[in-house]
Amino acid sequence: MTKRFALGIFDDEDVLLHAVENVREAGVKIYEVFTPFPIHGMDDALGIERSRLPIAAFFFGLTGLCFALWLQIYTLGFDWPMIIGGKPHIALPAFIPVSFELTVLFCCHGMVITFYTISKLYPRWKTPVLDVRSTDDKFVVAIEVNENTDMTKLTQLLRDNGASEVNQKEMSKF
C-alpha cells in the first residue's frame, strides 16, 4: 500500500517542538516526527500515550522466573538429584542467583524483540526512510496526506511555524 506524506523539514529542535504543538492545535494529525536524537518533551507535544511495554516486560520476567525455577527444581530435585554441600535437593537460596539472572535475561530480550517488532526496526532488505537528512542534522515532521488535503494550506502552516522546506514523498511498505 502506498502512502503519501507531506514532510516539514526543520533546522532547530526548539522551533520544531513549538511547531509540533501549533500544528496539532490547528487540528492536523501528525503521523510521526523523525529526529537525529531524542528531544525532551516531544512525547508530550505529540500527545503520545505511555508505552505498555512495561506490562509486556512483567510477563516476560515472570516467564523467565518460572522457567528458571522449573529448570532447577526439575533437574536438581527430580531428574538427577545430587547432594551438594549437604544441602537439600531443592534448596531455594541457592536457586536465587540463577532465577534472578534468567528473569532479567528473558525480560530484556523479550522487551528488545517486542520493541523492535512493534517499531518495525527489525532487519529488512530495504529500510524506508522519508528523508535521509533526519539521520544527520535535520528534523522531519511527517503528515499523512491524500488527494483531499489542501496542500497550499498545509505548506503555509508548516512554513509559518518555522519549517525551512516542505516536501512530499510517496512511500510503499511503510
Binding site: E13, D14, R50, G85, P93, A94, P97
Partner: protein
C-alpha cells in the same frame, strides 16, 4: 510544558524554622527521654527483658572468655548510644556523598535538592564527638567491643583469645582511634569544603566554584570509598570480633546510602508540603524515588551475596553470625531477621515499582519512612546480638533513637535555614528547573 528556551526567574528562598517546629523537635527529644527513663526503670525491675535465659545462653556461647559488663540497663544505654550514633552519623555522611556524586557526574537534575543533601551532613561533627565519648565510656566495662578487654591479646593472660590476638595489628586502641578521628574528620572537612564553595557560589556566581567543587568532590569520593568500608569494619563488624565478612563494608555503606536517600526524599517532600521548593516537580521526586527503589534492591543484593556464601559454605566461624540472628538466643531475633528483608526489600520493591507511585508524594513519604525505620533496625540487628546477646530490648533503644532524631533534625533545619534553599548561581540550575522524566 517542557520547553527549552523559556526562562523563568528564580529567586532565592529561605527556610524559616518556626518556633512551633523547634518545639516539635524538642517534643521528640522529650518523648525520647521519657521512653529512656521508663526503659531504664523497666530494665532495673527486670520487666521486658530475657535476663535469666539470656545469661545462660551467653555463658554457653562464650565459656571461659566470659566477662561481666555493666548493669543491663547501663549496657543497653551505652550500646544503643553507639548503635544510634553509627546510624545517624553514617546517614549524615551520605549528604556529602550525594552532593559529591552529583558534581562528579555533572548531574543537573539534583541541583534543586542539593541544599537538602548538604544540610543532612550537619550531624557529622557532633557525631564524631559522640562517637569518641561513647567509645570512651564503653571502655570502662568493655560493653561494646570484646577486643578491648585488657590482656585479650597477651599470651598467658586469662583473657587471652588467640583469634583476637591475631587481629591486633588492626584492632588496637591507638590505630582504632586514629582511624575514627581521621575518617570522621576527613568527612567533616570535605563537607565543609563543598558547603563553603557552594555558599561562595551563591554570593559571587560564575563557574569557577563549580569546577573547583568537582575536584573536591572527586577527591572526597576516593577517600570515602576507602574509608567507609573500614569504618564499617571498625564500628559495626568488630562488635562480633571473631567473625568477619568481606561483603560487610559494602553492606553497611548500602544501608547508609539508601537511608540517606530516603532522608533526602522525605525532607524534600516535607519542605515542599510546607510551601518551599516550589521548583521541585514530579520529575525530581520521580528520580529520588528511582534512587530509593534501585538502592533498596542494591542493599538486598549485597545482603544476599553475604548471606548466600555463608549459608552455602556453612563454615562455623562464618555462619555463627547468622546462627545468632536466625534462631539463636531462643529465636528472639528471628522475626527481625525476616522483618528486615520485608521492610527494606519487599515493601519498597512492591510499592515503588510503578512509575505513578514514584511520582506521588504520599507513596514516597510512606516508603522513605519505612526505609529509615527498616535500616535503623538493620543496624540494630547488626550490633545487638554481638553485644547484648539475649538481653536486648526496645524501650531504651527507641528512646535514645528519638533523642538523636530530635537533635539531628534541629541541626539539619538550622543548616537548611542558613542559606537559600535554591542554589541560585549553580550553572545547572536552569536544567534542574526544566527537568522532566
Amino acid at each position: 510544558m517542557a520547553t527549552l528556551t523559556h526562562q523563568e526567574s528564580v529567586t532565592a528562598e529561605y527556610l524559616e524554622v518556626t518556633p512551633g517546629t523547634r518545639k516539635n523537635f524538642m517534643l521528640i527529644m522529650v518523648a525520647g527521654v521519657v521512653l529512656l527513663v521508663v526503659g531504664i526503670i523497666m530494665s532495673m525491675m527486670g520487666i521486658g527483658a530475657h535476663h535469666e535465659a539470656g545469661a545462660a545462653a551467653h555463658g554457653a556461647a562464650h565459656g571461659a572468655a566470659e566477662h561481666h559488663g555493666s548493669a543491663p540497663w547501663l549496657k543497653r544505654l551505652i550500646v544503643s548510644l553507639w548503635h544510634n550514633n553509627v546510624f545517624f552519623t553514617g546517614v549524615a555522611s551520605i549528604g556529602t556523598v550525594f552532593v559529591a556524586i552529583q558534581y562528579v557526574a555533572y548531574a543537573g537534575w539534583s541541583v534543586l535538592v542539593k541544599r537538602v543533601a548538604e544540610a543532612l551532613s550537619a550531624w557529622l561533627l557532633p557525631g564524631l564527638v559522640i562517637m569518641i565519648v561513647v567509645f570512651g565510656i564503653s571502655l570502662i566495662n568493655h560493653d561494646i567491643f570484646h577486643w578491648t578487654l585488657p590482656g585479650i591479646m597477651e599470651k598467658g593472660n586469662e583473657n587471652y583469645d588467640e583469634i583476637i590476638a591475631g587481629k591486633s595489628g588492626f584492632l588496637n586502641m591507638p590505630f582504632y582511634l586514629i582511624r575514627m578521628v581521621l575518617f570522621l574528620g576527613l568527612w567533616a572537612f570535605f563537607t565543609k569544603k563543598l558547603r563553603d564553595l557552594s555558599l561562595a557560589e551563591d554570593l559571587n556566581g560564575g563557574t569557577e566554584y563549580f569546577h573547583k567543587s568537582i575536584n573536591v568532590a572527586a577527591l572526597f569520593l576516593v577517600i570515602y570509598a576507602v574509608s567507609s568500608p573500614i569504618a564499617a569494619w571498625d564500628w559495626v563488624m568488630s562488635v562480633d570480633t571473631h567473625w568477619f565478612s568481606t561483603m560487610f563494608g559494602w553492606y553497611i555503606f548500602a544501608s547508609w546510602w539508601v537511608s540517606g536517600l530516603a532522608a533526602i526524599t522525605l525532607c524534600t517532600i516535607l519542605l515542599k508540603q510546607a510551601g518551599y521548593l516550589r521548583w521541585v516537580k514530579e520529575g525530581h521526586l520521580h528520580d529520588l524515588g528511582k534512587f530509593m527503589f534501585g538502592f533498596s534492591i542494591f542493599w538486598t543484593y549485597v545482603w544476599f551475596s553475604q548471606f548466600m556464601l555463608i549459608w552455602y559454605a556453612n563454615i562455623p566461624e562464618e555462619s555463627v553470625y547468622f546462627n545468632q540472628r536466625l534462631g539463636g538466643f531462643n529465636g528472639q531475633y528471628t522475626w527481625m531477621f525476616f522483618g528486615n528483608l520485608a521492610i527494606n526489600f519487599v515493601f519498597p520493591f512492591l510499592v515503588l515499582m510503578t512509575r505513578d507511585a514514584k511520582r506521588q508524594m504520599i507513596m514516597l513519604k510512606i516508603v522513605s519512612i519505612a526505609i529509615l525505620i527498616g535500616h535503623w533496625s538493620d543496624f540494630y540487628l547488626a550490633i545487638m546480638p554481638g553485644t547484648m546477646k539475649a538481653e536486648n530490648g526496645f524501650v531504651i533503644e527507641i528512646g535514645v533513637a528519638l533523642i538523636f532524631l530530635g537533635a539531628f533534625l534541629t541541626l539539619m533545619t538550622k543548616r537548611l535555614s542558613q542559606a537559600s534553599l535554591v542554589p541560585i548561581h549553580h550553572p545547572f540550575l536552569d536544567e534542574s528547573i526544566h527537568h522532566t522524566t
